[in-house]
Amino acid sequence: MNSKKRIPIIGLIAIAVVAAVFAAVTGCTKPAESEEVVIYVSEDQVFSEPILKDFEEETGIKVKAVYDTEETKSTGVMNRLIAEKDNPQADVYWANEPIRAELLKGKGISASYFSPNAEGIADIFKDPDGYWTGFSARARVFVVHKDVEDAPESVKAYVDPAWKEKGVIANPLYGTTTSEVAALFTLWGDEDATAFMEAMKENGTGIATSNGESSDLVAAREYDFSLVDSDDAVNRIRQGKDIKMVYPDQGEDEIGCMIVPNAVVFIEGAPHPDNAKILMDYLLSEETERKLAFADCAQIPLHAGVDKPDELKAIEDIKAMEVNYAEVAKKLDEIQPYLKEWVGY
């Protein structure tokens, strides 16, 4: 074999060796245990990463993160947490709603931790056994097109013939819409909630792939209103879109508006338990809540008195739906086959 013929093969092997050395330097070297913490994150990376960077700068503890993608596009970190149960890699899970945290509790994947920074947060937003703690919440609100004069004020607008074919909702198989539907099942009972869902369908409610898309459909006046997360609404209001935000069911006899806090979870058998607790305390601090309120995700602080942008109501000014998230998680599991059928899967 002449040397010219050898060049490609030798060259390719050389590239692999260089790449392997690079990967070894960047990927395989592990800092000492005390210097790092591993977190799996379901909150959008654009919002969560700056918080974690600040944590690194302030504490000197290196954060290694695995981020989720939008739920409808990925199987995400929940599957990893479940598959890794017997040998956990994560120390902390930052869930973007408490239902997943309850699911992990049920599967024995999380452990109890009561953070001192959780003291000012209302009990309804915390697991009584310490398996998750809520912070920085979204509210489930209506986005209504600006030209709609009498905006709907209750989720029951979806079944009101006056709003026939004017409402849209994100696919209830995923995310916060699933949680809200499950919450309604726990509040109203299976029979009434099923009747509500069927009436919703008969009333010509549109189904979108996500809350973001629902909001855009309303902004484009393809529908008059949609139940979405407050961050989707605030985002589009800041972009100057023709929508307004309405907190539903705020009347005295009404069920209130569902609040969906982020939830921080301590993982059972966490490899770096001490750093995990430092990170959890940091996430549950008032300062983190303030940052998340002023970020584009515009999340509502759960500590009273924390600074917030004007578009948001303070948590104490919102009539919150009184739900037990553990019951919601259990109900969600029960109604998944029905929801699958309802959506048409």
Partner: protein, 531 residues
């Protein structure tokens, strides 16, 4: 002895890295509440919706394949056999969509036809609504997947045109014009190669989930996806993926019956005999303009819009800050993965080509089975099998990503090697045996040097596959060590349009620049010849 030991080692690696995770997941799909049950399989096939999804998948795959085959064949002939101006730049241009993840192409089209895209700016909301409705659904999926996979048929056509005996065409030209010769001699001569391309397009489109999900057209892979993402049910998710594997195997059987032997006996004509070139004459310039217009619509327009959207120093600065590390990691993982795949794929292809073991057909089927299996199934299988304290040196490091690449993509390098080896006359090996050369000496002195360009081309194809992979990487990357496609995807949730566009352009450059450099260094012949 050395031959058997090396080949056996490769088979063992494939079984451990690829088959065991798949078997583990399959077991999960039949173990329900502690007993053996086919409940998940009944559930997966019991609803009417499943058959609707299968129908959607078959329609999408069939139309995409038909368009890619007809237009790919025409383009392949124009670029591979005529005197059309700028044939090589056109070939590179049409190949670009194949080099990037299809969801990036989908985003590009969304930026043109979407509700607030280019059409909206130039033609107003009414027209934008029509194009949006058109994009989100079957037509949009066909557009994106057709433009992505068109190069497969085009490149295979160009490659197989080199195998047509010019004497036959010359004989035909004695009594007929070129169109007749193409119809009656050229196309029938490359018929099996084109069908091979069509089959590849059909199979890849059948397994595609990202584009149909983005463009809201429900296809069959969504069923498995829902089981994983909404129900966290690993067993049901695996059961729902099995029909895809069955369809793949049906195609594999068809390939074995109708194509395999015939495609492998095709040989490039000896160097002395030059391929005939079709003079386009009067049609040269009109056809050039037609191909140019087609390139403008299918390739240039979407990627130009992406480029224009990204043209902001801030966007690139933010993209480099947020994803610079991920890009470097992606490049190194892809280089390592491609080398591992080339090595394992070479021996696997050698084994299949030479039928070195009695079970060679099973090994071929195993690699195809793994290629067809959804990345989620392989990913969760890898997590379940390798996440133990004793194997932390693999699971907690990027090695697990390389394992994933090997599990999913070995079939590609194996097939490329088998095709490359089929071009080497057996007489050369036989002559070396007679003169007393051992297996390893024959391999390193005869087989590898002759097949070297095919091996190098296989490395490049593996590099592209690894670099653009998201399914496997997303499921197994160690905390803090994500890849560029994964980071792009995770930043898409609420990231700015400029940032996402800049990340997509970086992704395209990260694929193209190393390939151009390698091509310049090694002076590789066009990849098409070895696909």
């Amino acid at each position: 002895m050395a031959k058997r030991a090396i080949l056996a080692s490769v088979v063992i690696v494939l079984i451990v890295v690829g088959l065991l995770p798949a078997v583990y997941m399959t077991l999960k799909s039949v173990l329900v509440n502690g007993g053996i049950s086919l409940e998940y399989y009944y559930e997966a096939l019991a609803t009417e919706r499943i058959w609707l999804l299968i129908e959607h998948s078959v329609i999408l795959s069939s139309v995409t394949t038909l368009l890619a085959t007809v237009i790919g064949l025409g383009l392949g002939i124009l670029l591979g056999k005529t005197d059309l101006p700028f044939r090589k730049p056109f070939t590179v241009l049409f190949t670009i969509p194949l080099l990037v993840p299809p969801y990036i192409t989908a985003i590009s089209w969304f930026n043109i036809l979407g509700r607030e895209g280019l059409v909206f700016r130039f033609f107003g909301p009414g027209t934008a609504q029509i194009t949006t409705d058109w994009l989100f659904g079957l037509p949009g999926c066909i557009l994106v997947l057709f433009s992505t996979f068109l190069p497969i048929v085009m490149l295979l056509t160009i490659a197989f045109l080199k195998t047509v005996d010019p004497r036959l065409e010359e004989a035909g030209r004695l009594f007929a014009r070129w169109p007749y010769v193409i119809r009656r001699i050229t196309i029938p001569s490359i018929y099996h190669g084109v069908l091979l391309g069509a089959m590849l397009v059909f199979l890849i489109t059948m397994g595609e989930l990202g584009v149909p999900t983005f463009l809201r057209f429900d296809v069959f892979p969504v069923e498995s996806f829902v089981q994983f993402s909404a129900f966290y049910n690993f067993g049901a998710g695996t059961a729902a993926a099995i029909p895809l594997v069955v369809i793949t195997f049906l195609f594999l059987v068809l390939e074995r019956v109708f194509l395999r032997e015939k495609t492998q006996i095709l040989r490039p004509v000896p160097d002395g005999e030059k391929q005939l070139t079709i003079p386009l004459g009067f049609f040269r310039i009109p056809l050039f303009m037609l191909v140019g217009l087609f390139a403008l619509l299918i390739v240039i327009a979407p990627f130009l819009v992406l480029l224009l959207q990204s043209l902001s120093v801030t966007a690139y600065a933010e993209a480099i800050t947020k994803a610079g590390d991920s890009m470097l990691r992606s490049l190194s993982y892809a280089a390592i993965g491609a080398t591992a795949l080339t090595l394992i794929g070479f021996f696997c292809g050698y084994l299949i080509h030479n039928r070195a073991f009695p079970l060679w057909r099973s090994i071929d089927s195993m690699t195809i089975f793994l290629f067809a299996l959804p990345a989620t199934v392989i990913g969760i299988g890898l997590v379940s099998l390798w996440n133990h304290p004793l194997t932390g040196f693999i699971y907690a490091t990027p090695a697990i990503i390389i394992f994933g690449y090997i599990a999913q993509f070995t079939a590609v390098n194996s097939r490329i090697t088998a095709t490359s080896l089929a071009r080497i006359p057996t007489s050369m090996d036989e002559a070396a045996v007679v003169s007393g050369a051992g297996w390893f000496r024959r391999l390193t002195r005869i087989t590898v040097p002759i097949a070297r360009r095919g091996i190098a081309a296989g490395w490049i194809i593996a590099y592209i596959l690894c670099l653009r992979d998201m399914g496997i990487s997303m499921m197994v990357y160690p905390p803090g060590y994500d890849t560029l496609p994964v980071r792009t995807f995770t930043l898409m949730a609420n990231g700015t349009t400029e940032l996402i566009a800049a990340l997509c352009i970086i992704m395209i450059l990260a694929t193209l620049v190393p390939l151009i450099l390698l091509g310049a260094i090694f002076k590789l012949k066009p990849l098409a010849k070895y696909v």
